[in-house]
């Protein structure tokens, strides 16, 4: 192992270092504020590390690959973690309890996500996913006061374990047929293996995809999503929706492209069915939700259905690989930023008070907290894909890719899904425009200036990415 390799691993090293420092600090003097600052500093150093590692892009052992694409998502995810950190300061500091372990869990989970993003081998895929997942169970259950979060954590734990088991069994089957566990190796050897033993190979891939699909919560692996979204503390929900899902999707894309899964017709048909079901079911079930976190849970199911369209488009020979990569980069970035914007507002307005997670609690928000309401409105419009927002350009990419690959059924579902989605996104906007006569007033805790600044920042980012995307498109094109 040369120094060069270590340089390439800089983000991972920085995160590990932060975790170690946090543990040492906890053994010397337990102090929440100090832990918070150490975490913030560690994440900032990781950001620097991700920039630094750009000069050393290379495969690191058989397990990891450090490339510009992965480093960009590392940066994005660490930024999201920083925002989660800012949000969780409000949530966890008010109670006067010792909560510094939360930050340790956060760092470990981010570490898992970064490993996942850079994985090029089944082992690192599993390692990253489990590290991220195990830390997340604890984070979901962290408030230790409500039954809801415990229930959510247990649900997530049990179902995650099932998914991991499925994943492992899939690995075994893949190994049995191809004799390799690296993505690239599978890609090379699977075609031959497919001729000899198509059934086992296909069941293996299907199980791996199902295991990953569980983490992405696409239909029919979506059952846990609303309960976990609802039960988890709001910043953790944001974390789950952005970092966890984003990292898993990046890993899925790598597996898909390197493993050349798009060559298998039956798998693509199954995936298309999953995508269509996710778009329609996710949007349909979101319609009747009264709890905004549950609503966003269902909406995220639909969004990952949209994203799957891009992967399916790979199968068509007229597809342009660069456009598809750009589409994934753009959509995921837009989705993560928009979700962060939404959860920043929800964390501010609703906090941990269950009753305030109802849409009714947002009544008249425009006239009470104009900035927060504007930010949430922009986030909803971005989710709905209205022009000038990041979400629109993401959808623009997906439709372009879909047209090039002539996926008419998927595009049809996308349109129907989006049309349904407008209803529930607008419901939230409409609630915020009502006159605030009888509404229970949602209040922010003391640091409301910081919350407003954060809201404005995210609002500007979402709008900027949607109205002046050229620099980002150029950047994404080089990844």
């Amino acid at each position: 192992m040369t120094v060069n390799l270590l340089m390439a691993l800089m983000p991972i090293l920085m995160l590990s270092l932060t975790a170690v420092v946090l543990m040492v600090q906890a053994s010397i003097k337990r102090d929440q504020l100090v832990a918070w600052f150490i975490t913030a500093l560690g994440l900032l150093l990781t950001l620097w590390g991700a920039g630094y590692a750009r000069d050393f892009t290379q495969p690191v052992t058989a397990l990891l690959i450090v490339d510009d694409w992965g480093l960009f998502f590392t940066t994005l995810i660490v930024t999201a973690a920083l925002i989660t950190l800012i949000l969780s300061r409000d949530t966890f500091s008010t109670e006067g309890e010792r909560k510094e372990e939360f930050y340790l869990l956060l760092v470990l989970s981010v570490l898992g996500a970064v490993v996942l993003i850079q994985s090029s081998h089944m082992v690192s895929l599993l390692l990253g996913m489990e590290l991220m997942g195990v830390a997340l169970y604890a984070m979901i259950a962290f408030p230790e006061k409500g039954q809801l979060s415990l229930e959510a954590a247990i649900k997530y734990l049990v179902l995650s374990a099932c998914a991991s088991a499925m994943l492992l069994y899939g690995f075994a089957l893949l190994y049995a047929t191809t004799g390799d566990l690296s993505y690239g190796g599978i890609g090379l050897k699977a075609i031959l293996a497919y001729q000899q033993n198509p059934l086992i190979l296909m069941s293996g891939t299907a199980m791996v995809v199902a295991g990953i699909g569980f983490k992405l919560s696409v239909v029919p692996f979506h059952m846990w999503t609303p309960d976990v979204y609802e039960g988890a503390p709001t910043p953790v929900t944001g974390f789950l929706a952005t970092i966890s899902k984003g990292a898993v999707f990046v890993a899925l894309t790598r597996f898909f492209v390197e493993g050349q899964l798009y060559e298998y017709h039956s798998l693509m048909t199954a995936l298309a069915a999953v995508a269509i079901a996710s778009m329609l079911v996710g949007n349909w079930l979101a319609l009747k939700q009264e709890n905004i976190k549950r609503l966003l849970a269902y909406s995220s199911i639909a969004h990952f259905g949209y994203l799957l369209v891009v992967l399916i488009a790979l199968a068509h020979e007229s597809a342009e690989a660069t456009l598809i990569r750009q589409a994934i980069t753009f959509y995921l970035t837009a989705y993560i930023l928009t979700t962060l914007a939404a959860f920043a507002v929800i964390a501010c307005i609703a906090g941990e008070d269950e009753s305030k997670n109802q849409i009714a609690a947002f009544d008249g928000l425009f006239w009470r907290r104009g900035i927060q309401a504007s930010s949430l409105t922009v986030a909803m419009l971005s989710f709905a894909g209205i022009p000038l927002t990041a979400g629109f350009f993401g959808k623009f990419y997906i439709i372009s890719v879909g047209i090039q690959s002539q996926l008419w059924w998927l595009l049809g579902s996308l349109i129907i899904g989006s049309a349904i989605a407008i209803y529930y996104y607008l419901r939230i906007v409409f609630a915020m425009t009502m006159s605030a006569g009888t509404a229970t007033k949602g209040q922010c805790s003391a640091s409301s200036v910081a919350q407003d600044v954060l809201a404005i920042l995210l609002l500007i980012l979402v709008l900027l990415l949607g109205s002046w995307p050229q620099p980002f498109i150029e950047f994404a094109g080089q990844l």
Binding site: I386, F396, I399, L426, Q470, I473
Partner: protein, 500 residues
């Protein structure tokens, strides 16, 4: 740059109006009116200063340098998206209509809106900016952007200041337009992709996309995507169901803008995009479109006849009148197209005025139910006379703009398909029936004793002035329509040449 400024003035004006509420709550409406008038004067001033304006040449559809104005700047070069605006005779008429009716809408909101006036006027100005963008954008991406974005302030206007059932109406309005808009987006992107595979270039420019070679089946599907988006907006039977709700529930200024201007974006889209981009497919489709138009004319008129809600009746009459526009566009000869353009302008004024009258009645009586009206002329003779004028304008009395429009459409249509013209002419008869019924139930007939103690106030100076503007416009259009026809003629000539 002039066209960019036109939009920017409205956008910035909206922000000013929003902020000025903090100084004085009567400030926003004054600022809004000032901004719209400044915008109008700025536009006129620039137009009249143009030397070539007096000798309009026939613009070539595919050559922007022959248009009155053209502006292009790069925006997202990665996809060949640019900020491309252009103006020809038809867009010019629409821009003028938008700005004049914009001023009328501000006047309509003068006393109607009592809460959050700053935000209201801001939304009004932003809607106008979006509509101007739709009429001037010649880059398909930019066009789609304006098409969608103008919905948001309109949505807020209905959802916040609307009447009793505003949430439902606003939602329905948004979903209908957005969903059909998505179909158009897919069509736009597919058209661009077809062009990309033919030329190897990404471009969204209208001028580059005209004459894109494509398979017959492809052009049919793509044309349908555009057609749906535009006929939902127009609206055409059976896609009209959002309109009665949205128009009825919107605040008066919102109804004025919706009926006066927003509906015209659909008609404009048909003339500008749906036909010229896919000439063969559109011509083959024309009988279906005309049948829908004729059905809309009759259906709208019959349903209007059955309404008891003042605003709903006008809303359904719009469905009927917009049927004429669809007929005119798809008859696709010069007379019929002239009629369609004329109808767009004339209907804009007459309906806007009727909605203002409805708004004034609601403000005074707190109801729109015509069964609770009657004999209002007695209390408000000025309003009654004005209403009479616009009602007969709307039913197509010779000498007023709407007559010229409908007459031209029927004349052009008769050449293409006499029977269709016969059916459409039935709409004129029913039109007379529901229009006069409206007048009779509300302003004439027996005096409703309950109304006596409402302390009814007749139209004041501001209202009369606003109405006078529209009356002059309609009389002008009716007696001397030549200027409008002259503006539209060269454009229509060149558009007609795009089809076989």
């Amino acid at each position: 740059m002039v066209m960019v400024n036109l939009i920017l003035i409205l956008l910035v004006g909206g922000v000013l109006a929003l902020l000025s509420e903090r100084i004085n709550e009567n400030m926003p409406r004054k600022i809004a009116l000032g901004i719209v008038v400044i915008d109008l004067l700025y536009f006129l001033n620039h137009l009249l200063a143009m030397p070539e304006f007096n000798q309009l040449q026939t613009p070539l559809v595919a050559d922007p340098s022959t248009w009155i104005m053209h502006f292009k700047a790069d925006w997202i070069p990665a996809f060949g998206i640019s900020i491309e605006l252009a103006l020809d005779g038809i867009s010019l008429l629409m821009v003028l209509l938008t700005l004049v009716l914009g001023a009328v809408a501000v006047s309509a909101s003068w006393t109607d809106v009592i809460v959050r006036r700053g935000f209201f006027e801001a939304n009004l100005l932003w809607t106008l900016a979006g509509v101007l963008g739709v009429f001037m954008a010649l880059d398909l991406f930019l066009f789609f952007l304006f098409w969608e974005v103008m919905l948001i302030p309109m949505y807020f206007m209905i959802a916040i200041w609307g009447h009793e059932n505003r949430g439902y109406a606003a939602m329905k309005f948004f979903i209908f337009t957005q969903a059909s808009g998505l179909l158009m987006l897919v069509s736009i992107l597919a058209l661009v992709a077809v062009n990309h595979s033919a030329t190897g270039q990404w471009t969204f420019s209208y001028f580059a996309l005209l004459n894109t070679p494509m398979a017959e089946a492809t052009s049919h599907w793509l044309m349908l995507g555009f057609f749906f988006a535009f006929v939902v907006k127009l609206p055409v039977f059976p896609f009209h169901t959002w309109l009665p709700d949205a128009h009825t529930q919107a605040p008066t200024a919102g109804s004025v803008i919706l009926a006066g201007i927003l509906l015209k974006t659909g008609a404009y889209g048909l003339i500008r995009y749906a036909v010229p981009l896919f000439p063969d497919a559109a011509m083959e489709f024309s009988y279906v479109a005309m049948a829908l138009g004729a059905a809309g004319v009759v259906y709208g008129a019959v349903v209007a006849f059955a309404q008891t809600d003042f605003k709903r009746l006008i809303a359904y009459s719009s469905v009927s009148h917009m049927g004429f526009v669809l007929l005119g566009v798809y008859a696709w000869n010069e007379l019929a197209l002239q009629g369609a353009v004329m109808q767009m302008v004339a209907h804009g004024f007459s309906t806007a005025a009727l909605f203002m009258i409805a708004g004034s009645l609601q403000e005074r009586l707190h109801t729109r139910d015509m069964r609770e009206m009657g004999g209002l002329w007695h209390f408000m003779p000025r309003m009654g006379a004005v209403a009479m004028f616009f009602v007969v304008a709307s039913l197509g009395l010779p000498g007023l703009g709407n007559f010229v429009a409908e007459f031209l459409v029927l004349l052009g249509l008769f050449k293409v398909d006499p029977w269709m013209a016969v059916i459409a002419a039935l709409g004129l008869i029913t039109g007379a029936a529901y229009s006069l019924l409206l007048m009779q139930r509300s302003f004439q007939g027996d005096l409703n004793p309950k109304l006596a103690d409402h302390g009814l106030v007749d139209f004041g100076g501001r209202e009369m002035l606003t109405m006078a503007v529209m009356m002059v416009a309609l009389v002008g259009l009716g007696i001397y329509p030549q200027p409008v026809l002259d503006f539209a003629e060269p454009v229509l000539q060149s558009l007609l040449e795009t089809t076989p």
